[in-house]
Amino acid sequence: MTDEQPFFRLDWIIDNADMLALATLEHIALTLIAVVGGVLIAFPVTIVIQRRRRLIGPVLGFTGILYAIPSLALFAVLIPFTGIGLLTAEIALISYTLLILIRNGVAGLDGVEPDVVEAATGMGFSRRQRLWRVEIPLATPVMFAGLRIAVVTTIGLVAVTALIGQGGLGFVIITLGIRRAFETAILAGVGLSVLLAVLADRGLVLLERALTPWARQRAQAS
């Protein structure tokens, strides 16, 4: 036997299946926390600024700056306050979802036809009823488009948080793979991460179809 390893070692994958599964679960958990957190912040913000329109510019500007900060720089800024760990990682991940979620949320609500809004008002919906029963349901397709981008982006970004001791599959890619020049770990980590992104995206498409049966019939009719 020489020192030379084969490029891809299936035996390593099999031996470390438990570890890979755990890393994948952790990846999913980190993504879920980030996206759920992002939605919990973005949704109310969207509803407020879509009505108080002069806030739209500042809010999108601020989330745009957050989005533009490189992740390493953001970690560097946060670590003195929140330390090295989950909190820092999630603050960064959540920050990156906000621009996409809020921008699509506002676009979705703005896209509701004025006729339909006026009909709702004229028929005696209160503002709140109109928002929940008419405007939000009709904005769902555009909001979902934002959610899909946010989820796929976050799944990719989670890997970087390996640099501050988190990372899910990022731990496999960066710590086990890149640092030790071990191709099998890199391929396994990247492969699982891509698979996760594809599955999550398909899942969201199916969920959206289930939630908006009317949009499908429209597509068929036109």
């Binding site: 036809e113 339909v116 028929m123 005696g124 009317w214």
Partner: protein, 389 residues
């Protein structure tokens, strides 16, 4: 005239809607509506008509408080609309807007059920009401209940819009250019449908349009507004045509007032003639025996008495039965509610100078000739006499 079909809503009557010195001013500019005072009788169709910028839609929207007057008041049966919470008021007033405004994410049934749900009706009561309303506007509940608006034609959407506005049995209906987005032929039909419905239900309807012909056809009374929301004349259509109150009204009504007065009379006002008819599958010899030298044509109908087309004596030679491909279509289809103007226009546009009159189920009622209409025009006693100018 038209027999009320079973399942019609109980005929509650309309309310009196009154405008008392109503002015609407946006900012510091000139008023959009200026000191309007007029009263719409219970169960009447009042059409607001005028050029763009005359405030007709603004005026209508003050009834359900989508627009609040700057001064003056609007009352329904004597009660100031401003004394009710806007949301409650609106649920009691039917509303049909220009592009119909159906909710695309709700099925036809759920669209119609919107106001009953807001009012908290029980589900069985809502379901029953939805079925009743769809039948009322001529849509088969089984076919249409579960469809989304995207899968409907323009005319079908319009019907759903009317059903939705009627859902909670309002005494007042507001309609803002309800047929604006429909092609002329379907528009004529929808107008007739609404008139038929109104003959039965007798609601108070405030109807906005920019089309004088539509106003003349639909209205019990027309309010003509000038730019700035000044009431130029408030009168029944025949009075408006016979005695325009000002040069503005005369100009707006148009130079062809004589022709427009054809819109005052309906097909149902004339005696229809009964054609020789033949039904599909009937032996040709039997039809031949009914034709005389003067009437060389027979009208072929199907088993449901729906007209198919005309067949000529020459084609009825020999034995055998009358078949659909022998029948030549080409006559305009008219309804009793069609105005003589629409009827004449349709007849002149078709290849035969005879219109076939059918009811709302497309069953044959009779035929009408251009000659019959022109005879009416020459008859000095009717409302279609010589133009004053």
């Amino acid at each position: 005239m038209t027999d009320p079909s079973p399942g019609a809503a109980p005929s509650a009557s309309g309310s009196v809607v009154a405008f008392e010195h109503v002015t609407k001013r946006y900012g510091s500019g000139p008023p959009a509506v200026t000191d309007l005072t007029f009263e719409i009788g219970a169960g009447e169709v009042c059409v607001l008509v005028g050029p763009s910028g005359c405030g007709k839609t603004t005026t209508m929207k003050m009834v359900n408080r989508l627009v609040e007057p700057t001064s003056g008041r609007v009352t329904i049966d004597g009660q100031d609309v401003a004394s009710l919470p806007a949301v409650e008021l609106r649920r009691r007033i039917g509303y049909v807007i220009q592009q119909v405004g159906l909710f695309p994410h709700l099925t036809v049934a759920d669209n119609v059920a919107v106001v009953p749900r807001l009012l908290g009706w029980s589900q069985p009561r809502i379901t029953e009401r939805v079925e009743e309303l769809l039948e009322l506007v001529g849509l088969d509940p089984g076919t249409y209940r579960g469809r989304y608006p995207a899968a409907l034609s323009g005319g079908e959407r319009q019907r759903v819009g009317v059903a939705r506005a009627m859902a909670a049995d309002p005494s007042v209906l507001l309609m803002d250019e309800p047929f604006g987005a429909v092609d002329p032929i379907r528009r004529e039909r929808l107008q007739n449908d609404l008139l038929r419905l109104q003959a039965r239900l007798r609601r108070t309807i405030v109807f906005v349009t920019h089309d004088v012909d539509e106003a003349i056809k639909m209205a019990d009374r027309i309010a003509i507004l000038e730019v700035g929301g000044v009431l130029a004349q408030y009168d029944a259509p025949d009075r408006l045509l016979a005695a325009p109150a000002s040069p503005f009204v005369e100009r707006f009504v148009g130079a062809d007032r004589g022709l427009k007065r054809l819109s005052l009379a309906r097909v149902r006002d004339l005696a229809l003639s009964t054609p020789v008819t033949a039904y599909l599958g009937e032996p040709r010899s039997a039809v031949r025996s009914r034709l005389t030298d003067e009437t060389g044509w027979a009208l072929v109908t199907d088993g449901d008495r729906r007209p198919v087309g005309w067949v000529e004596a020459a084609d009825l030679a020999g034995d055998g039965a009358v078949t659909a491909d022998m029948a030549v279509p080409g006559s305009a289809l008219l309804q009793p509610e069609s105005t003589l103007r629409d009827a004449l226009s349709a007849m002149l546009a078709s290849s035969a100078q005879v219109g076939v009159v059918v009811d709302e189920r497309d069953e044959l009622l009779g035929v009408l000739s251009v000659a019959a209409i022109s005879a009416t025009l020459q008859d000095g006693t009717d409302p279609l006499g010589q133009d004053r100018s």
